[in-house]
């Protein structure tokens, strides 16, 4: 696995107004890997993801994309390299799946070039790749939760970015659809060599799908590394206050968290 990093955070302090969420954060997003950010509610993991995707301006420190400060770069240029899916994004009523995925081409379009042949080809591929082509004419609000998430990932795919940041892509989905979405993320990584960063809640699924886990607590990164090294009973106690066994996942051999009663 390569250890280069195009997206980095340096001594980051993130705040909403006067309320500091995190301080002194350093992150190197490993290229071509799947990174999952885990941690209890309110630990700052979504905030970190938003900052990495330049949706939140750091109060101090820097986010660097290809060595350049991300909020100094033209946002349209950044949008050709980094795609971000916010938590539970909302599509306006009446929007079809095709409309949604077409919007992924926005950073590549100008006001006079709205539907070039290249746009059309890339959108068609994105729809096909996410298995949404048959639903292209359906309104997004008529889809099931899992299909809707696939539609949004399809849009991010049409954006054609090397890096993809997903904020809790499995929230509100039943287990089967969670697996669907995570399989899709794994294919993005495996077949298209995308770098994927996701905020996830389910620790065992995070361990199964991610190459690297970043565990956060109270705005700090406690530990990061391969799932086998990160997911230990000690860490679960320290970070989540959870008593648990960690056993090898019978299906994949990755760490499986078995919570114990308190």
């Amino acid at each position: 696995m390569s250890t280069t990093s195009r997206l980095q955070a340096r001594d980051l302090r993130l705040a909403y107004g006067d309320v500091t969420v995190t301080e002194h954060l350093d992150v190197d997003v490993v290229d071509g890997a799947i990174t999952a950010i885990i941690g209890p509610n309110g630990c700052g993991k979504s905030t970190l993801l938003r900052a990495l995707g330049r949706l939140l301006r750091p109060a101090a420190g820097q986010v660097l994309l290809d060595g350049r400060q991300i909020d100094r770069a033209p946002t349209r240029e950044v949008a050709k390299i980094v795609g971000v899916l916010p938590q539970s994004p909302v599509a306006p009523e009446g929007l079809t799946v095709a409309d949604l995925v077409m919007r992924g081409r926005h950073p590549h379009q100008s006001w006079f070039s709205q539907w070039s042949r290249a746009d059309e080809g890339i959108v068609a591929e994105a729809l096909r790749w996410t298995d949404m082509i048959d639903l292209a004419d359906r309104p997004v609000d008529a889809l099931s939760g899992g299909q809707r998430q696939r539609a949004w990932i399809s849009m991010a795919l049409a954006q054609g970015t090397d890096l993809l940041l997903l904020d809790e892509p499995t929230t509100y989905l039943d287990l089967a659809h969670q697996i669907d979405v995570l399989d899709l993320a794994a294919r993005l990584h495996r077949e298209l060599r995308r770098t994927v960063v996701m905020v996830l809640h389910d620790l065992s699924l995070a361990a199964r799908y991610a190459d690297i886990l970043v565990a956060m607590k109270d705005g700090r990164i406690v530990v990061s590394g391969p799932p086998q090294e990160v997911l230990t009973p000690q860490l679960l106690a320290d970070v989540f206050g959870l008593r648990a066994l960690v056993v090898p996942d019978p299906a994949t051999g990755t760490p499986l968290v078995v919570p114990l009663p308190r």
Binding site: R117, G160, R194
Partner: protein, 367 residues
């Protein structure tokens, strides 16, 4: 920069690409220019334009000195009698052209603001344009007297609209612009402005008050080319800008985070959209008064006729022109030989039509 990263997707334009069938859409491509336009929008737009122009021809023909449509065509080609030329070109055309342009500008303005705020209530009336214009115009009429005020009314309205809209934008700004906050601040300021208008009306004498009330309803009666020219010039600049702003709105309607993730410069885009919408509404109101309901109702009618996820800007403009020119014609027919302000009729025609569309439609929310 290499844009395409998908495995089977084209590496550059010109390669063979996978086609994506888009039912109900017409793909237009010419050189670097390309667009996928919904067929329904084209049909509705063409019909609205044809109807609006037909009504305009009928409208200029009506009056004490009737001119049949054929003669109207002759006059436009430089023929016809001198009397016909004078009546048509100097007396009746400005009024009808004014109606077309006022309707188009108000409706486009409403389409922009409703999409921007993701809220159908966010028409220019709420954004402070109308209220500010009303204060300016009524003050000019009441304080300046009719004769002194007439020349100054359009300008006073323009000034009032611009100042109040700017004030509301500044008051609503809090680490960016939020649609709901904008609507609430607009409603608050609007109440204050309408209180000022009431005060001015109460202390006005009867003639001024009647004049002001007609202005407040919205009317294109008695307009000449000096009223139409500034509005036409404004539309020439603002209409293309509004169409360009619609491109940003397509992304903006996903919410701030997604819009920025897709590379939109959020604050610049928001300010630009509001500025274009306010300028359109201010230009329209200063020429025709706050013709009621057009900016609110027409974009919603356009949305329901065309489908899609937001009011279409161009079709809204064409339907707005149709509504106001039709209302102005009706306003001269129903109580002929007297006439009503067009603004009375736009509400009476537009509102029931929207209600009918709402009742038979499946759309849960608006905008």
């Amino acid at each position: 920069m290499v844009v395409t990263v998908l495995p089977r997707a084209p590496r550059k334009t010109g390669d063979a690409v996978t086609a994506l069938p888009l039912p109900g859409r017409v793909v237009l491509r010419a050189g670097p220019v390309s667009a996928a336009v919904p067929l329904r929008a084209i049909v509705v737009g063409v019909l609205a334009l044809a109807l609006a122009l037909s009504l305009a021809v009928i409208s200029v023909g009506r009056g004490e000195f009737p001119i049949p449509p054929g003669a109207v065509w002759d006059v436009l080609n430089g023929e016809g009698t001198r009397a016909q030329q004078h009546i048509l070109l100097q007396l009746r055309m400005p009024r009808v052209v004014c109606a077309l342009l006022v309707g188009a500008a108000l409706a486009m303005s409403g389409a922009l603001t409703q999409t921007f705020a993701r809220n159908p209530l966010a028409s220019p009336d709420v954004l402070g344009v109308t209220g500010g214009a009303a204060v300016g115009a009524v003050a000019a009429i009441v304080l300046g007297g009719i004769t002194g005020g007439i020349l100054g009314v359009p300008f006073a309205a323009l000034l009032g609209a611009t100042v109040s809209a700017a004030l509301i934008y500044v008051l609503a700004y809090k680490r960016g612009i939020d649609g709901y906050r904008l609507v609430l601040v607009g409603l608050g300021v609007g109440e204050v402005l309408s209180a000022i208008v009431s005060y001015l009306l109460v202390r006005a004498d009867l003639v001024d008050a009647k004049q002001a009330t007609i202005w407040l309803t919205g009317s294109v009666s008695g307009r000449d080319w000096s009223n139409v020219r500034p509005l036409a010039a404004a539309l020439l600049v603002l209409a293309p800008l509004a169409v360009a702003a619609a491109v940003a709105l397509r992304v903006l309607q996903f919410g701030d985070d997604t819009a920025r993730a897709l590379g939109l410069r959020l604050q610049t885009a928001q300010l630009a959209v509001v500025a274009i919408a306010v300028a359109l509404a201010a230009a329209a109101v200063s020429a025709g008064g706050p013709v009621e309901f057009v900016a609110f109702v027409v974009p919603q009618i356009a949305l329901r006729l065309c489908g899609g996820s937001r009011p279409p800007v161009i079709v809204s403009g064409l339907l707005g022109a149709l509504l106001v020119v039709g209302a102005d014609l009706a306003a001269r027919i129903v109580v002929a030989p007297r006439e009503l302000p067009a603004g009375l009729l736009t509400a009476m025609i537009g509102a029931p039509y929207l209600l009918w569309l709402l009742l038979r439609g499946t759309r849960r929310t608006i905008a």
